[in-house]
Symmetry: C2
Subunit: 169 residues, 2 copies
């Protein structure tokens, strides 16, 4: 064994996820009712951020419902590349030790006439009955968030890389 | 009075903040111990997102402490434009009705030898005593997040625009 002269000065802090970490990531996805969304501002390309309503749909996976008035609505239509973070911070302890999942994703607006919309709508309403007030307004849209890759961070020095497939139902 | 043919089809959903909303935004800043950070991925410019430790320093304002291993560390060094979201989601009710503050910001790394660092360090440790384990490690840096503009969202149809000055101590 020889030492490589080109060895990186710092080790990669992120390990590939194994089954327990994949299960932990899916539990975070399944439990989340909201998330933080990072997007590119269509005005100048700078980062923007919003809170989004969130569900992990058993067929479509990561899903949000977006109002036309939301800052990220025109942003995601102009540039579908985005990132989502979920995981609650508990009331106690160092906030940075609480697990969170960061997912790079690609947004896809679900057309009103799409064959999958009635199923998405029914399952969303089953979880969020109050959404019936606005779910059918013409400027509200379901947006699928197709996962590209993820990182599960379970606290200091505990980070795991996930594939897009790892983050689908 | 005449109707303008160029009138926008949708009203601006965001109103200018007045004193009560500015006070509400400052209360969110002062109370936050963590935040979500949107940044540009230096590899390809796509949006990235991280949870960050956060304090509203009484002199410097929005502040975080960043580890060299964090994904956003090289990102903010390459591109200081970023966005921060803070505000807790309570255990009850619709998560989208809980107030949150979104701030467009510009990151500035505080050099280890900067005159302001001892004060930032002392005040950070007063709030986070456990940080003494890592605060002086060579790859940890304080990063000031200079506010450019903000939006306070207090729930559906309750959004207020803030200036960078509104979001300083």
């Amino acid at each position: 064994m020889t030492l490589s002269a080109a060895a990186p000065r710092r080790r990669d802090p992120v390990a590939d996820a194994t089954a327990p970490e994949r299960a932990e990531a899916l539990a975070l996805l399944t439990g989340a009712r909201h998330a933080a969304l990072a997007f590119a501002d269509p005005k100048d390309g700078t980062p923007g951020i919003s809170r989004i309503a969130f569900a992990f749909d058993p067929e479509a996976g990561m899903l949000t419902l977006v109002a036309g008035l939301a800052a990220h609505e025109p942003a995601l239509r102009a540039e579908p590349a985005c990132a989502v973070m979920l995981g609650e911070v508990g009331a106690k302890g160092d906030p940075m030790t609480h697990p969170r999942l960061m997912v790079k994703a690609r947004a896809e607006f679900v057309p009103a006439e799409a064959a999958e919309r009635p199923g998405l709508r029914a399952r969303w309403l089953a979880r969020n009955p109050k959404a019936k007030v606005y779910i059918d307004l013409p400027d509200f849209s379901f947006v699928r968030l197709h996962p590209v890759s993820g990182v599960l961070n379970g606290g200091f020095a505990r980070a795991f890389r996930l594939t897009g497939e790892d983050l689908m139902p």
